[in-house]
């Protein structure tokens, strides 16, 4: 687990989000800032990823972004955002999908495209409980447990996904998140206890308990090395 201050704060935020999801509450808001979120649909469709991220992060403290938009156009806006979430999910871009899902949750949107995007995010849960299926890539890049992949990326992605879930499950009271978030909650707590390395490099210890069939093909030493 990265020991620096920002990583610690991020883990705290992750734990808070996991707790709020468990309690079926929306994500934390510092204050109800009005964002004036009302982009032209055409522009939104062709925004570069970085610009889209910046735009959506700009509304993260707004408890109901897009409230100024008239209802019919608001639905079109939400549909486009949900379509973009599916689109980026096709590219395997977990981070931007989480950002889009969070915005849609904040806007109180629900629909099958959002469900697809949420399913996609849930599927990114790795065996150790974090979000981001990067073990194979890390292994191919010969990344070791120390230094190169310090886990902060995985930690950030995990918090982004949790925040997305908190926004969605908090706003529309879905009967989820189920085991994936529970596993993440446990993983974050373990990280706090310095007994595991779910986000990377601590190498202090491994989750307790005997290996079961589902994980037996993945040797604990390999897991330490590859995440």
């Amino acid at each position: 687990m990265p020991r620096d201050e920002s990583s610690g704060a991020m883990r705290e935020l992750g734990l808070l989000l996991a707790k709020r999801i468990e309690e079926r509450k929306s994500g934390p808001l510092v204050q109800g800032e009005r964002s004036g979120f009302n982009p032209a649909l055409f522009d939104l469709l062709f925004l570069e990823r970085q610009e889209l991220t910046r735009l959506l992060q700009g509304i993260s403290l707004d408890d109901e972004p897009g409230r100024e938009v008239d209802p019919a156009r608001r639905l079109e806006l939400c549909e486009l955002l949900a379509g973009l979430a599916v689109s980026y999910a096709r590219d395997g871009d977990v981070s931007i999908v989480a950002t889009l899902v969070r915005a849609l949750g904040q806007m109180g949107f629900s629909g099958p495209w959002l469900d697809d995007a949420v399913d996609f995010l849930e599927a990114q849960s790795c065996p150790a409980g974090a979000f981001g299926l990067l073990a194979i890539e890390a292994d191919q890049l010969k990344l070791k447990s120390e230094g190169i992949l310090d886990g902060s990326g995985l930690l950030r992605t995990t918090v982004e996904v949790l925040w997305a879930f908190a926004a969605v499950f908090g706003s529309i009271q879905k009967q989820r998140p189920g085991e994936t978030v529970q596993g993440c909650f446990t993983a974050l707590q373990k990280g706090e206890d310095e007994r595991t390395d779910v986000f990377g490099n601590a190498g202090v210890g491994l989750p307790e308990g005997p290996p079961c069939d589902r994980t037996s093909a993945w040797h604990p030493d390999e897991r330490t090395a590859s995440i």
Partner: protein
Amino acid sequence: MHDLPDYEDLGAKSLEWVIDRLQEFAPWKEGSPEGDRIKTLGELAIVYRLLRRVAADKRNRIAALASTLPEIHAFLLEQCEAVEYRELVRKRLKEGFFILTPYLILRSFGCRISYHEDSLRRMARLGFPGAVERVPHRAMETKYCLWISGLHEEEPAWLSLYDATFLKQVRSLIYIDREDVYAITHTLMYLTDFGGLVASIDAGEIERVSEILKCLLIHHARTRDWDITGELLLGLGFLARTSSATYRAAETAFLRFAWQSDGSLLPHTPSACGAKGGEESEREIFDHRYHTTLVGLMHCVAAHLHSKPQVKR
């Protein structure tokens, strides 16, 4: 406020581009078929079928259609009568039905070439095209061609054909690739006879399919994949579902970014794929652009029937 595109002008320009390059659609260069050129000729024939339908529609306002259709017809007929084409079908009877697509389209308008008719009889005796394993949307294409060509009088059992397709089965739009999207758009082309028939699926299914197309449209417009964007716009047009904000945004982008001043269309924005598309010679330009140009042409001529005339200044 969304400005309606000038479909007539764009369509006429694309038609001109195609007519100027008709010879590029010819499969026969020095006696042997070049690569996928027979497929290219088949695609031209399919567009010709749609153009004829539009030209016969009293709402048609593209004057150039009437004057160019005989030219396309004569070109297709010339290609179908080429001795190389006739022999190729006879040499490859198993695939002969698919090679014959251009002829089958002409046949749908009453044209008969006795040598090809004999080839078709031989195929039928051997169990072709039925005795060729095909994926569901291609099986639908086979039935479609048998029907429009007049070889089968009975209209295909669309619903049972449709039930087996990817489009009917798909649930998640995340785990889908370009080939899957083409399977979807082609299914709709055959199911509606390129907009000539009302799709024989129920209203709920049309709604589901429209939502699928809209979602795919967002992805392919965002990634500047104009060839697929054009086919998806066509599909929504065939289902008469063109009023959504997503459709309008994607169509605006398609017409603004894919269309070139000479009437051709780029299959994707060059910077989106990090290359210029390998266009150097006229032939390479044709190979690169012809398919998207045909798609754009079909889109404009079909869409203009449902739009109000543009006020010319």
